[in-house]
Symmetry: none
Subunit: 416 residues, 2 copies
């Protein structure tokens, strides 16, 4: 059972956008035991689309195609598909009604192009798009399946989750395959590898371990292939238990959880609240925390104090401390935590002050110097990071690091 992913659009060929859809789809197919044989990007011309479909179906039983579905006239994917299958196109009233409702909500009027968009190849099964106006399409002919979706990543993902995965599970049965993903934070790939060397050596031939690192976090994915699905689940559960013994403090969750979701759950369990006092991260930590639905139950708020004036005014950091130690210092972040606890009346507060870069460093405090503090009414602990010259990377890494500080402080009462 092999699949080919096709992305349509000149913007990929000329390098104007990076194709992230394929990576996401590749991961999802892999998790389902469907082998992606090839990823192909082509231009949005009818002949190229038709020719690529012909070639791809020579090798694959499943094609996932993204891009080229939208209201403007450069979108010719649907016409190419209709021509490929040698079918006509028909106006599809429910889709037009959906578009009308969608636009009504936005207080806007659909255009003629939106009406055009509702013509669909006659053999298409339409896949509802909750995030946009163009539905996806499912074709099942001669034992082979073609799925066509819009290229906008959140629209594609929404259609995949709600419409495509259930249909794929029903339509294709493959060799049992099982996965467990163990989520770690706090150590790099190679240090984890050396700590779990004996664990890796203990794995039988039908279980593979993959390291999936991503800025401050490493996912460990165990994949087992076999004849009996139930056995696979049991042996993977065992292996995960064994892995926990090697790196207990690094594991923050499993499967698709995020660190901010895990922390949210712990806050709710403990009935505690939190606030942040951020300088160089500029609100990114608050954003990560509030990206979780229901975070208002434990997140009171944040003071983003970019200027020294605001550190004094909003967080009561003393002018003396700022002058003596500077804004990027242990003394300052300790006072920021105290100020945040007071001003924002939370059980726990996190403070961050650093030099995100690319400019603004000094010989004593080079770009990438970041001080963090976390505390409650009883104690405050601090940590210093020495990061990179890349502004966005520094902001993101620091915020993830702060989330892990919150996790440790909540669970153990200390970040040590």
């Amino acid at each position: 059972m092999e699949a080919i992913l096709i992305t349509i659009g000149d913007e990929i060929l000329i390098g104007q956008i990076i194709d992230t859809n394929s990576a996401w789809m590749g991961q999802e197919m892999n998790l389902r035991g469907i082998k992606v044989r090839e990823v192909i990007s082509i231009s949005d011309t009818k002949t190229d689309i038709i020719e690529t479909l012909h070639k791809a179906f020579e090798h694959a039983d499943l094609i996932l195609m993204t891009g080229g579905l939208g209201p403007t006239k450069d979108d010719i994917t649907k016409k190419a598909i209709a021509e490929y299958y040698n079918v006509g196109m028909t106006f599809h009233p429910p889709t037009y009604e959906w578009i009308l409702r969608f636009f009504k909500k936005l207080n806007k009027q659909p255009t003629n192009a939106h009406r055009e968009q509702c013509f669909m190849p006659n053999n298409a099964v339409l896949l509802e798009n909750k995030m946009g106006s163009a539905p996806g399409m499912w074709f099942d002919e001669d034992g082979k399946v073609l799925i066509s979706m819009p290229g906008v990543p959140y629209e594609m993902k929404s259609i995949m989750r709600d419409e495509v995965f259930p249909r794929l599970n029903e339509r294709f049965i493959s060799k049992p395959i099982a996965h467990r993903t163990v989520l770690t934070i706090g150590e790099g790939e190679s240090r984890i590898a050396s700590r779990i060397e004996n664990f890796e050596a203990s794995l039988p031939g039908n279980i593979k371990l993959a390291y999936l690192p991503n800025l401050g976090k490493v996912r460990l994915r165990l994949t087992a292939v076999g004849e009996n699905g139930q056995d696979l689940e049991a042996v993977l559960d065992e292996k995960v238990e064994l892995l926990k013994e090697y790196i207990p403090e690094l594991i923050f969750g499993y499967e698709t959880e995020t660190i901010e979701e895990v922390i949210g759950r712990i806050f709710k369990e403990k009935g505690k609240t939190v606030s942040t006092a951020e300088s160089c991260t500029g609100g990114f930590l608050a954003h990560k925390i509030t990206s979780v639905p229901g975070s208002s139950a434990y997140f009171n708020g944040a003071a983003i104090t970019y200027s020294n004036e605001l550190k004094q005014k909003m967080l009561n950091v003393s002018a003396d401390t700022l002058q003596k130690h500077g804004a990027v210092s242990e003394a300052t972040v300790i006072e920021m935590v105290k100020g945040a606890l007071n001003t924002m009346n939370s059980d726990i507060a996190v403070a961050i002050s650093g030099i995100a870069g690319p400019d603004g460093g000094t010989p004593e405090k080079p770009v990438g110097t970041v001080w963090l503090a976390i505390g409650d009414k009883n104690k405050t602990e601090t940590h210093k990071l020495q990061l990179w010259k890349d502004r966005i990377k520094n902001i993101e890494y620091t915020s993830i690091f702060a989330l892990n500080m919150m996790r440790k402080f909540l669970l153990n009462g200390t970040i040590r």
Copy 2:
């Protein structure tokens, strides 16, 4: 003159890494007037590589291939190429000497695998790799060129710059091509399409227009192909000027600029400062503003007031207003702007309060209801959005919308 890019490696097919090499190479080819016809990712198996080479050379005169050149044993690209060309492989002493010197510098010992790596297809012209141990290779047979390079991005780029570009310039002369990207915000793809219908109709056959939408923004890309490069630049400049007449208020920038960079530049020009008062966006607007290097020159800070208590305490919103109108109301965001101007002492303040979802809506204020306000000491303007059920999408769209409010308020003194 058409090229095909091939990336080799299972890690791309299973989505473990995102293929950024192709986007970079696509841009570089495009700048040189070489049309990239297709981007293909395949697994590192000999048969797949050979078959893909055969198919690709049916359509293209130039193939750029990355990945599969390295010291580990799964790298079989070179053997596949030798088999494709039906030539043998020979040990290449200069490459081995280069590897020995390279490892001496790193204070490491090469392994046997590194010696293996020095066997090259007999018809290869070697391309020096200043950044790693595996050289690139150039093949020129039957009027068609194949270039094979390591997949490590900085190694590939170094070989491209030093070895490939000069050879390509010498070997191929291609048709001039030119691009302009016009960045718009504030209207969807189809509405823009209907507003610029006459503009599109006025474009000569050698100029193509593409719509590249992305949550609240649409990029319009004009591509011109012709015989004379200078003429193309001139005619595109003319067309961009013409386009401005159709949608003047929607255009915020050109080429690769971001809305937050453009706003940063305007703030600096006007010598004004800004602060934000955010509820449902949870700091994401502050993050967007501070993602720009040097934003401390105009961004004072933000109050992320998730709870009503903090709206009162940090922004001086009256308990009366909150009780009468609710936290998500025009009256509340107006008071938040006033409070932000006072507390954070900025020239301009933006306030946001809404229901990001997925829960928390009521019949009068469903999920996706968002109130925004922007003001200075003289006046405050408001806007209501009715968005989706998707939390992250609502947060991101609202923040982009707020950035555009800032742009209009700065430039015209009003968001109307």
